[in-house]
């Protein structure tokens, strides 16, 4: 496929937008993901469906991608955006493209470290603005330098690799011996097992694994559409939660509002607009200038600017408030938004004269809550909601259905924005007690358990469709030749090989083998196995 300069530039821009945190804060959950990235690339290159399908397959490899505390194995933008574009322009078939995507992702993994380090410098510019009491300056530093850096870091390599690299890859693939191409395609068919294995390592519990098998069998024997399998999963989840006795909703704790909030309740200084503005800024810019030194500290201060402007008048007070919130902060941004609500309530109280709300009081609430909420938040948003909905979206996309990416974006955005808003407002209403109220309400456990059931069912079904490889081995007894795959394995359990590979990789990861080791094993087995004639399509 020929690529025009205009298309290459659009791809470069798309790669940046995918990596940034924009798009009302759901960017990390939507455009960052290869399913969506691939669809966008396909649209730019004039073949949405091919892009979407390739993006979906790539995303399966990264299904278990969870950035716990900012440690990322491989770069999703390199894999999703650049990988899809390279695959389409160089005219590779999907499995072959998949085998190239993983090394490509690793190539980009240094960008994260570089960015987190460089952004640490910009924070000090924000410090200078804060000392002068300039809320605008702090906001500008949070938005611009980090994002300009990100634009350079992603757009340039994306442009170079796609525009100049695609013809090169194309001509290399022409001279590569066919056995190697075949082997790479085999590797590409096996790699999604890594994504599923990684996710299982994170979310699976042995006692819930029957649901994984259920999804797998529904897909492989009944060939049911992904949405129907998801409905089966949902039914399973509801039944499981009802009958396993974990649904113990305790009555909400005493209804009296915490005493320390009473003064704030009497004089509401913060308007609804200030509040929504602060929440929206956090949603959008929490990771705009993410850095090792303060993590989301600058994002926090930026989100508070409308509150600070409302509550404080003198330059000294504004400067002090900005500096107070420019300190280290790191949490899961959506579940953790309860901390912001609490902080707004405390600032409001402080501004209306409550002397017991000292800097230390505010700081200790923030720093005490951010860790525990990150733990819960990551497991809910990144560990359950995202992969479950992604598996659904990928499944639909693989059937060539544009509803895959669209439905995924709608569902995940609703969930993320809903959680963020709910947590923020609860925090503001109840103060720090909100955290205990929410956790003690007893809904978290049944919800997580139910979501795990649904997730495992859908992921099981996905394993049946995206992990694809088979053996060419045959046994000759006298005049009869028995094909191992079609005559034996398929008659025992269809998909036995993909299922075993997925479970084997899960086991390896569980034994602390690094994903990188697993990748190397898969490449070695796929290439050598194909070369020896053991693996292949009969």
């Amino acid at each position: 496929m020929e690529i025009s300069l205009r298309q290459a530039l659009l791809i470069a821009l798309a790669a940046y937008l995918g990596s940034s945190t924009w798009f009302i804060g759901v960017g990390y959950f939507t455009v960052y993901r290869p399913l969506i990235g691939g669809t966008i690339i396909g649209w730019i290159l004039g073949d949405v469906v091919t892009g979407m399908k390739l993006g979906a397959a790539i995303n399966a490899i990264y299904l278990g991608f969870i950035s716990t505390g900012g440690s990322l194995p491989g770069d999703l933008i390199f894999a999703g955006y650049i990988g899809t574009a390279l695959g389409m322009v160089a005219g590779l078939d999907a499995p072959t493209a998949l085998s190239l995507v993983v090394p490509l992702g690793l190539l980009g993994s240094g960008i994260w470290f570089f960015r987190m380090t460089a952004d640490s410098l910009f924070v000090h510019w924000a410090d200078a603005f804060a000392r002068r009491g300039s809320t605008r300056g702090v906001a500008a530093v949070n938005i611009w330098p980090g994002q300009i850096l990100l634009l350079l870091l992603y757009a340039i390599p994306a442009f170079v690799i796609v525009y100049y690299g695609s013809p090169a890859v194309q001509s290399v693939m022409e001279v590569v011996p066919p056995e190697v191409v075949e082997g790479l395609a085999m590797v590409g068919g096996m790699l999604p097992a890594l994504g599923i294995g990684m996710l299982l390592n994170y979310m699976a519990k042995w006692r819930l694994m029957p649901f994984f098998l259920l999804g797998f069998l529904l897909a492989i024997y009944l060939d049911l559409p992904m949405l129907v399998i998801a409905l089966f999963g949902l039914i399973g989840a509801v039944l499981h939660v009802q009958y396993s006795g974990i649904m113990q909703v305790s009555p909400p704790p005493e209804e009296s509002a915490p005493t320390e909030l009473s003064s704030a309740e009497q004089c509401k200084l913060v308007t609804r607009t200030d509040m929504l503005g602060a929440w929206f800024r956090w949603l959008t810019f929490s990771h705009s200038c993410y850095n090792y030194e303060r993590m989301q500290g600058l994002g926090f201060a930026h989100s508070m600017t409308s509150i600070i402007e409302r509550l404080y008048d003198t330059r000294e007070e504004i400067a002090a408030a900005l500096e107070r919130h420019l300190v280290f902060f790191n949490t899961e941004p959506n579940v953790g938004a309860v901390v912001h609500g609490v902080t707004v309530a405390m600032e409001e109280e402080r501004a209306s004269g409550a002397t017991q709300i000292t800097d230390e009081a505010i700081n200790s609430v923030k720093s005490g809550l951010m860790g525990p909420l990150a733990g819960i938040g990551d497991s809910v948003t990144q560990g359950l909601i995202t992969p479950t909905l992604l598996a659904l979206g990928i499944g639909l996309a693989q059937q060539g259905n544009l509803a895959g990416p669209i439905l995924y974006v709608l569902l995940v955005s609703t969930a993320v924005i809903g959680i963020s808003y709910f947590m923020w407002m609860q925090g503001y209403r109840w103060g720090k007690v909100a955290v205990v109220r929410i956790l003690k309400a007893g809904l978290l456990r049944p919800l997580t358990e139910g979501a795990t059931v649904l997730g495992l069912t859908v992921v099981g079904a996905l394993a049946a469709t995206v992990v694809q490889f088979s053996t060419k081995l045959s046994i000759t007894v006298g005049p009869q030749t028995v094909q191992l795959q079609t005559d034996i394995l398929d008659k025992i359990l269809k998909g036995a090989l993909p299922l075993s590979l997925t479970l084997l990789i899960w086991w390896l990861l569980n034994k602390q083998k690094s994903p990188l080791t697993v990748i190397l094993i898969v490449f070695a087995v796929g290439l050598i196995g194909t070369w020896l004639g053991w693996l292949g399509w009969g």
């Binding site: 860790g371 525990p372 990150a374 733990g375 497991s379 720090k432 955290v435 205990v436 956790l439």
Partner: protein, 174 residues
């Protein structure tokens, strides 16, 4: 007797890396947070307990009491067996601290651990960055050095899959 799987400084205490990676890696079902201030803070204690997975037991203890409890414990070698096999049956306890000073106080009170993992210490006023997510001010560095001088092996490591970096390499002994 209690099996202490690791003593770790992490000022965010129980968060994603700890819950998802370390507990599983170390095969721990118990977390002991040693902190005088948190011991007096009922609210934070309930948050910490509620934030941990339901099968994990979280305790908060003041330095003196914790040292007494830990004095008789066995501290496992830093890394598990190279094969990745859990080196013991039964679940260990992960000791979490918010600051190097607390670690030093534990040592002073008789809990003689030989290795200390520094995972995360936030940057703040007057801190220098020692390693990725580890920053420390002069008092914290002094406490780290004091422990180093007493033969404690101190290493920086955020997550299990990351290579540990020795403090002796980053901050050579004077």
């Amino acid at each position: 007797m209690m099996r202490v799987a690791r003593v770790r400084i992490d000022d965010r205490l129980i968060h994603g890396q700890v819950v998802v990676k370390w507990l599983r890696y170390l095969d721990c079902r118990q977390i002991l947070i040693v902190d005088d201030e948190l011991w007096r803070d009922d609210f934070m204690q309930s948050v910490l307990r509620l934030a941990a997975p339901s099968e994990v037991r979280v305790q908060v203890a003041p330095v003196r009491q914790a040292a007494k409890l830990l004095r008789s414990s066995t501290l496992e070698a830093m890394s598990r067996h190279p094969s990745g096999e859990a080196s013991s049956n039964g679940h260990g306890v992960l000791v979490l601290l918010r600051s190097p000073q607390t670690a030093l106080a534990l040592l002073d009170n008789g809990f003689l651990f030989s290795e200390l993992n520094v995972g995360a210490l936030a940057a703040g006023k007057g801190t220098t960055r020692l390693y990725k997510s580890v920053s420390a001010n002069s008092e914290q560095i002094a406490a780290l050095r004091a422990m180093q001088d007493r033969g404690v092996r101190i290493y920086f490591q955020m997550v299990p899959e990351e290579r540990p970096v020795e403090m002796s390499e980053l901050l050579p002994a004077r």
